[in-house]
Amino acid sequence: MTSQVIIQAIISGILMGLIYALIAAGLSLIFGLMEIVNFAHGDHLMISMFSTFWFWMLFGIDPIFSIPLTIILMAFLGVFTHYFIIRKILNSTMLIQICATFGLAVTIRALAQFFFTPDFRTIKNPIIQGKLEIYGIFIGYPQLFASFICLFAFILLYLFVTKTETGTALQATSQDRQAAEILGIPSNKMFALGWAIGLSCVAVAGSMLSNYYYVFPDVGVNFSLFAFVAVALGGFGSINGSLIAGVIIGIVESVGGLLIDPSYKLLYVFAVYLLVVILRPQGIFGRY
């Protein structure tokens, strides 16, 4: 095995990791805000991918142009999800909350199977295709582009949360809901905003993935597993943590697959997760 192959695996891992990071950031934001785990997160990613696919299939809009449309769609879906489901279970027991978002996941997937069939779809001839070769290392343009856009979205998210007034209010709500409320910050609106942002993250990731990934009803399953691991690894509620953790997972998955056997990818990722749970249960940047 040459060093080139290993470098290749590391680069692919980092690129994929940046996508995991954005997906995980959305999950982490929602959790940090209202302590609810969105078990439908992977399925929201799937909807974003189908949205991108249908914009292309029906209207001929390329994924790089349908991103804003998918973001708007998913942001609305997030607000809708908050007002019609989450708001009603905010003060319920954890079991009820788990059942609600898990039930949502099952429902979304079943509906997708029913309406879209379980077929695997691909977007043919997207604007961004082909690959780049540097010193014998190949990087697909769609992968490279997807990772850049996800990193860019991640930076925007970070700046929004830490530097803007609304972002600070969002943080305040996640740190102390009552204290925020008595200062005039309506937590219900903040929660809806959190869902809108959380699902916008998967909208960006999903749009970009559909450039080179199969689109099918179960596509979200592995992504959400990795996102959960990334959130736990990075620390629940920590956005910075999900960036580092996403990239670690991408590298472990890719290099592990290269060195041992790609069919055990999940095993390597969960092995790293177990190690973290044992050594540092609150995650890298965790408070919980």
Binding site: T168, Q171, D176, Q178, A179, E181, I182, G184, P186, S187
Partner: protein, 235 residues
């Protein structure tokens, strides 16, 4: 009358903890709400700021009934609530905490001015403006919580157990600050378990026992009252 509470009942689900309590605060007045642990003092403040909804009765502020307002709307009418145990936003900086105090429209317009004002009031907060709130001492966090409340430009400042767990010297500092706030014409309603301390500051006091008002009056009349001694010493 600035704040006028008329015959409120408050319950946590079916467990009633406040029975037929009436209380009022005039403009610029300092009023102490006293009572043993668990007598319902915090619950009364929480009903005023809306963290808990009342079952019966009425709460008027500047003659507007506010008890049906959402919690987040009440700071806009002029009520700031400094919660029990300070409750500063632990992972935000001092400055971020203060600015959030002026989140509602009216206060936001005057934000910079209020901030300079608060910094004059609490020079320590200015020095520490970029420090993360939960790395400060208890006394400093209490100043921050009060500063954050004042940023909302209240007509009534409610403070729940401001002196809890503070060193005697810090308590003296804080007493002085309360005096200065009152001199600006801001009414203060505060909760305290130390009767002597509270009555040395307040114009008037109300004494709660098991969710019921047992006695109220001017501080000087309450200090030597037998009824007050009975409530607190159980004799």
């Amino acid at each position: 009358m600035l704040l006028n509470i008329k015959n409120i009942d408050v319950a946590y689900d079916d467990y009633q903890v406040i029975w037929n309590v009436s209380l009022s605060v005039k403009e610029g007045e300092m009023v102490a709400l006293l009572g043993p642990n668990g007598s319902g003092k915090s619950t009364v403040l929480n009903s005023i700021s809306g963290l808990i909804k009342i079952k019966n009765g009425e709460i008027d502020f500047n003659n507007i009934p506010i008890h049906k307002f959402e919690t987040y709307q009440r700071v806009g009418v002029g009520i700031s609530h400094v919660l029990e145990r300070r409750r500063v936003f632990p992972y935000l900086t001092v400055l971020q905490n203060l600015l959030l105090g002026a989140y509602h429209e009216k206060a936001k317009a005057e934000r910079e001015k209020s901030l300079q004002d608060i910094y004059n009031f609490f020079p320590k907060l200015k020095e520490r403006s970029s420090q993360i709130a939960n790395t400060m001492s208890g006394g400093e966090q209490q100043m921050l919580a009060i500063g954050r409340g004042l940023m909302g430009m209240p007509k009534l400042l409610m403070v729940d157990e401001p002196f809890l767990g503070l060193a005697p010297l810090v308590i003296e500092d804080l007493k002085l600050i309360f005096k200065k706030i009152a001199e600006r014409g801001i009414a203060i309603l505060f909760v305290e378990q130390n009767v002597r301390l509270a009555l040395s500051m307040a114009n008037r006091g109300y004494i709660l026992e098991s969710g019921r008002l047992v006695i109220d009056g001017a501080s000087k009349d309450l200090v030597d009252s037998k009824e007050v001694k009975r409530v607190f010493l159980g004799s």
